[in-house]
């Protein structure tokens, strides 16, 4: 508080008379909003930190839940699809195969299901303070990303147990994680803003997530899908992500075609969501 106005850099009159903030009835341009979101990355960090902290404080098992969810699912899938259903698993032990598919899937599914209600559940903040709204669903994805990384440690443990060696293929993992994060941010943001307009999203989503899971190579390898359907199947961006995620861990050949389609679809979705979010966020607070 010892500052006086003359040496407070924030109070030096600006030479240019371009307003720092321009509010008008017309729709805001997209690029300045993306820049603004980037400027608020510290807040993003705090929002992620808040959710992690609260979760680990409120739940008894805390971090264990993050691992238990995919582990229990793997157990169930192994019993039903491997022991009873005799699903193939690309020569990898089935539990390992299933867990490696469930990891990115759990990240994605949890991101979009919690993300979809995030603007509604944080309405007590967004009706009182302005900041780029996209940070709210993005922070949810951030929290799930941390879970994802923790649960990945278990996969390494499982690989040691099954004596599956680590290969150079793992070098592609950062690319896959980045792509799935972008995809999760896009879908979570889209659903969250749509949910403020049509509350039906909350009811519809669990069904959609179920369908999406069976349409992704989680319990089965994508080689089970007939060749003539393969291109259509790969339009699901998770196909490229999950197949190559497995390839990276188990040293299997990469599916470049699926990878390229997946990246393309993610990019298109991202651009679309940036536009639709910008449009729908306008009356956001009026709708809450």
């Amino acid at each position: 508080m010892s500052q006086v106005s003359s040496n407070n850099p924030e109070l030096v009159p600006r030479s240019s008379r371009d307003p720092l903030i321009k509010i008008s009835a017309t729709r805001s341009a997209i690029i300045p909003q993306l820049t603004e979101a980037w400027d608020h990355r510290e807040l993003l960090y705090f929002l992620v930190w808040r959710d992690l902290k609260v979760r680990y404080r409120q739940t008894l098992l805390g971090v264990a839940w993050v691992i238990l969810q995919p582990v229990l699912m793997t157990l169930v899938f192994t019993i039903f699809f491997n022991q009873l259903g005799h699903f193939p698993s690309e020569g990898v032990p089935y539990p390992l195969f299933a867990y490696a598919g469930l990891l990115p899937w759990t990240f994605f599914a949890n991101s979009i299901s919690t993300g979809s209600s995030s603007l509604l559940s944080n309405s007590y903040i967004i009706t009182k303070v302005y900041f780029p709204r996209v940070l709210i669903p993005t922070a949810i994805v951030g929290v799930r990303l941390v879970d994802f990384l923790i649960a990945s440690a278990v996969l390494i443990g499982l690989m040691l147990f099954y004596r599956v060696g680590i290969t150079r293929h793992m070098l592609i993992l950062p690319v896959l994680v980045a792509e799935s994060t972008l995809l999760a941010v896009a879908i979570a943001s889209w659903l969250s803003v749509l949910n403020t307009k049509y509350r039906d999203i909350g009811t519809l989503l669990p069904v959609l997530i179920q369908v999406w899971m069976f349409a992704s190579p989680i319990i089965y390898p994508s080689s089970m899908v007939p060749t003539r359907w393969r291109s259509l199947y790969s339009l699901n961006p998770l196909v490229g992500i999950i197949e190559n995620f497995r390839a990276a861990f188990f040293g299997l050949p990469f599916e470049w075609r699926a990878m390229a389609i997946s990246a393309g679809v993610t990019l298109v979705l991202l651009v679309y969501v940036i536009h639709i979010f910008n449009r729908l966020q306008e009356g956001l607070v009026d709708r809450l």
């Binding site: 307003p19 321009k22 008008s24 009835a25 929002l47 930190w49 808040r50 609260v54 303070v129 307009k197």
Partner: protein
Amino acid sequence: MLPIIQVNNISKQYRVSGSPSVAPTLREALMAKLKSSFNATGNHANDSGLFWAVKDISFEVNPGEVVGIVGRNGAGKSTLLKIISRIIKPTFGEVNIYGRVGSLLEIGTGFHPDLSGRENVFLNGAIIGMRREEMRRKFDDIVAFAEVERFLDTPVKYYSSGMYMRLAFAVAAHFEPEVLILDEVLAVGDVAFQKKCLEKMKHVSRQGHTIFFVSHDLLSVRQFCTRALLIESGQLLDDGPVAAVTDRYLELMSQK
């Protein structure tokens, strides 16, 4: 002097409930679409279902001014502040702001009951727009101001309401954007703490920060502000020195 804020003819229109709902379900939206395609003439919401929360307000504020906004409940004061804070968009008009804006429409926005006092200071600070570096620098001052040193690592859900308010206000009081927007937030704590808050705000304004202040407490408006705006039914009725405008407001109130 060049103004720090220019408000040009802003208006905000709302639909009154009973007319098409604000958050329709998918079915309602589809039905509305169907209906409007069947009778091309009948889809206009009639004018009676609309109302202007803020209508055609314009003014300019110079750096360092402390502007009180007075008016009855529902006059449009909060809507006006929410537009300037960028929380809602105006229906018409524009606002130019030549500096950083911080709005405190309530104190302790985003406080989480399960987090400690220390954690909430950082979280709340980040939400209202403070930089982490700024918070680190001011942290000790904030804690001293709130008088909660002993309970810093206790979750705020165990705080008494007085402690909670003091901590929340302390963060707000140490936030120093070029334009500060305050909505009734001074109405916390006992008389002594309110006085302390007012002193702190005066100090902030003396440093050249511009402040908007909405309160029903005319005494503190008079004490604290240099200028006042009187809002009535969404319109700017008066704009001038604080004494004259608050007198006019009292006069208006006694008429009704």
